[in-house]
Symmetry: C2
Subunit: 496 residues, 2 copies
Amino acid sequence: MTKINKAACIGGGVIGGGWIARFLLAGIDVDVYDPHPEAKRIVGEVLANAEKAYAMLTGAPLPPRGKLTFRDTLQAAVAGADWIQESVPERLDLKRNVLTQIDAAARPDTLIGSSTSGLLPTDLQRDMLHPERLFVAHPYNPVYLLPLVEIVGGEKTSAATIQAAMERLPPIGMKGVHIAKEIEAFVGDRLLEALWREALWLIKDDICTVETLDDVIRYSFGLRWAQMGLFQTYRIAGGEAGMRHFLAQFGPALQWNWTKLMDVVDLDDALVEKIGQQSDEQADGLSIRELERIRDENLVGILQSLKGSHGGKGWGAGKLLKDFEHQLWAAGGDKKETLDVTKPLRLIDTKVSPAWVDYNGHMTEHRYLQVFGDTSDALLRLIGVDLDYVERGHSYYTVETHIRHLGEAKLGQTIHSTAQILASDEKRLHVFHALHDSASGDVIATAEQMLLHVDAKAGRATAAPEEVLVKLRPLSAAHAVLTMPEGAGRHVGQKR
Amino acid sequence: MTKINKAACIGGGVIGGGWIARFLLAGIDVDVYDPHPEAKRIVGEVLANAEKAYAMLTGAPLPPRGKLTFRDTLQAAVAGADWIQESVPERLDLKRNVLTQIDAAARPDTLIGSSTSGLLPTDLQRDMLHPERLFVAHPYNPVYLLPLVEIVGGEKTSAATIQAAMERLPPIGMKGVHIAKEIEAFVGDRLLEALWREALWLIKDDICTVETLDDVIRYSFGLRWAQMGLFQTYRIAGGEAGMRHFLAQFGPALQWNWTKLMDVVDLDDALVEKIGQQSDEQADGLSIRELERIRDENLVGILQSLKGSHGGKGWGAGKLLKDFEHQLWAAGGDKKETLDVTKPLRLIDTKVSPAWVDYNGHMTEHRYLQVFGDTSDALLRLIGVDLDYVERGHSYYTVETHIRHLGEAKLGQTIHSTAQILASDEKRLHVFHALHDSASGDVIATAEQMLLHVDAKAGRATAAPEEVLVKLRPLSAAHAVLTMPEGAGRHVGQKR
C-alpha cells in the first residue's frame, strides 16, 4: 500500500498549508496542530489558492476532498496518522523538541517528514526513540503546484523509510527526489544560495536593478530550466562532441574572476533598502495577491504545456502531471455511482481556465469543442472505452460535429457539460451535448456529434465488441425515452 | 526607423547561426562570413531547427524569408549592413582583430554587436576608429527561441547606439536588456557561473548525480524562473510583510556555511569522467538531435502558455511573443496581393504542432476548430475586422459551426485552409472552410460557419458599418458564382 490514509501536519504556515492542500485535494484527511492564532486564516488562504490552481491545472476528476480538522494538541493531531509532516520555524532546538513530541505520540511505523530547508536529518533525529522513520521532505513554494520534494535521510534513517516516502508522493501529485548524502541545505537551496549571493553583489555594485536581473533570468535560462536542468542543457550545448568535450572547454572559466563568491556580501540596511525600493518599482502596483494569482496561472500553463510535449507523452513535470491525472481517472473519478441515467448525463465539471480565454476574457471558440470532446471521452469511458482500450487498437472517432453558441463563457466561470444519447447501433454513437453555466444552469452552447467505432490500425469503421455494446445499450435505452433536445438535427443557418 | 534592412553575421557557429535564423525569419537579408569549412552545414542545421520551431511557435504569418548569402571576405559581408553581429570564438585578441576589420569596412553609422559571453566591451572597442557603435549583444542558446539579449556598452559606446540596439530587437522577436555597468560575464553568465560552481561540488562530493540535480531544478525553481525571476519570486515569498522583511529573515543564512564557494572545484579528469558517465545515463539513449527537438517543443509550449496567461494579456516572454505576433499581423502577412478571389481563399498555411496532437500523433479534435477559427479571423481581417476594429467595440461572433472529419492530420504535417463565402448580408456571414493536406491537396476536414456582426458591449447583433460591407460585398459577389461545396447545408447524421 503506497497511499496515505490519514496525514497530520504540525505547523500550518505557507509551507505547512501547502502540504495540507496537497493531502486534502488528493482525498486524504488531515489533522493540523498549530498554536499560532492566525493559523486557520493562513491555511484557509493557501487552500483557496490551491483549489483555484487545481481547477485550472487538471480536468481530471478530483476525489472527494479530505476532511480538515484543527486539533488543540500535537498528540491529538498525530493520532492515527500514517504520514506526519513537521513544518515549524527553522530552528534546530525547536524542531528537535517538536519531533521528539511527535515521536512519543505517534505509532512507531508512522512516517515523519520534516520540511526543513537546511538542517541535517541526523541532527533532527538525535533525541528520537524511533529515529529510523524520520527524514527530510523539503518542498518548494507554492507547494500545491511545484512537485519537487527533496528526500534526505540521516544516519539513523532506514532504507525502508526512504523507499516508503518516495512511493507515497506520486499519489498526491508530487515527485520525491532522493539526495544520496546529507549536507546542509541539500541540493536545491545550495544552488539557490550560490546564485542568490552572486545576485546580491550585482545589485549592491549597481551592475543592474532587481527587475533587470529578473528579466535576464526569465527571458533566457529560466525557460531552459523549466524543462531540462543544468547538465542536460549543457549536454546539448556540447553538441555531438559530447559532455566531456563541453567540460574541457568550460574548465578554464572556473579560474576566471567571474564571480564574487570568494567574498560574502554584507546585507546591511542600505542594501536592504535599495532592493526593497527596486522591488517596489518592479511590482508596478501589483499586490502580492495579484502576483500570486499571475504566478499560479503561469505555472499551471507551463505544467500543462509540458504535459502535451514530447509528442503528447509529456516531459518532466508535465509527464508527472499526466501520470497523476491517469491515476485520478483510474480512481474512478467519473463518479459513476452518482450518475442518474434517466436524464442527460452530467460528465464534466470545470472552470474556464486562463489558457482558454481571449484578450477580453471570453472562452475561445475551439475551447468549447475541447470541453465537448472531453464530454464524449467521459461518456466513452462509461462504456469501457478508456486509455487501455484505445491502446489495444480500437476507439471511437468523431466524424461530425454541429456546435451552436447561445451565450458566452468567461474566465473563471464554473461550467459543466451534459450528454444525451440520441441513437446508437453497433458502429454509430449519435450524441447531443450541452454546456451549462453551473450557477444558473443556463445552456451556453450545444454540440451534436456522430462518433464511429473504428479499428485504428486498419483505419476503418468496425462494429464495437460485445463488451462495449453491453454497457452502451442500457444507457441508450434509458435515453431513448427522453425528449429530442431543441437544436438537434439542425443544419447551419436553418431558420428557427 | 527601428527595423534592420540588412544584417551581416561574422562567424556562423551555433550562436552565429541562431542570429542568422532570427534575421532571416524576420524577413531581413543576411550576409555571412565564416572561413570554417563546416560553416554552411552548421548554419543550415540551426536554420532548419529554427524554421521548425517558428512553425510551431506562431500561427502569425511570417514575412518572406530574407536572403542568405555566404561571402568570401569579411569586407564583402559587412558592405551595406546596418547591423553587424560578431560571433567568433571567445578570445580577446581574435575578437579585437575581427572587430577592427569590421570597423574599417563598415559604414560609420552601422551598429556592431558582439556575441561575447564574458569580455568587456571597453576592451573589445580599444582599437576601433568608430568605437561608439560597438556594444555587447549577448544572446542565449537556442538563440532562435530564447529572446534575451544582454546589451552592454563600453566606455566609448554612445547612448544613441544603446538606444538604437534596444529598438531593433523586438522586430526580430528578441528582448534587449540593458546592463547598466560593464563587468566580466555581465549578469546572466555570472549567475550561471555561481550556480555551476556549486553544482560541480555537489557532483564531486557525491551528494547527488547530474540527473538528480537536474530534477531538483526542473521540478521546482526552474518552473518559477521561467516566468518570474529571483527577486519577484522572493517578493511573493515575503508575503504581505514585504521584501524588506523577507531580506531581514534571509540575511543570517549568508553567514552560514551553505555553499562551497569560498573554494573552487578542481575540474580534473576524474570529475570530467564522472560527469560524462552520469550525463550519458541521464540521456537514456536520446541523441543530441532528439534532445534538441524535445527542448524546442518544450520551449515553444512554455512560450505559448505564457502568451495566453495573465488573463490573455501575456506575461514575460509570452507577452513578448504576443507583441511580436501583433507586429507580424500588422505587417500584412495575410498576403492580400496574392489572393485569387475567383476561388475559395487560401488563408492559413501551417504545420501540425506538437501541442496539437494526442498520444498517437493525431491532431486533437478541438485543434481542427482552432485552425477553422483562425481561418475565419483571417477572412475577417481581409474586410477590415482586425484587432483594432475589435478593440473599438464591434466584432463578428461565431454562432454556429458544422465540422466534418474526412481524414486525419498528423504531427508535423503541412496543412492549409481555404474559405468560401456562401452568403452574406449586413449582419450575417455564412462561410464554408476546408482543411487540406498541402502535399496532396486532399480535404481532411470541412467547417461550415455562421458568423454574426455584433456590438460587443451591448451584446447583440447589429449591422456591420459601410467600411466593412464595402470590402465584403465584392468578395461575396465573386464567390456567388462558385459551386455550392459538397457537404454544405448538411445536418449531423444526414444520409449521403
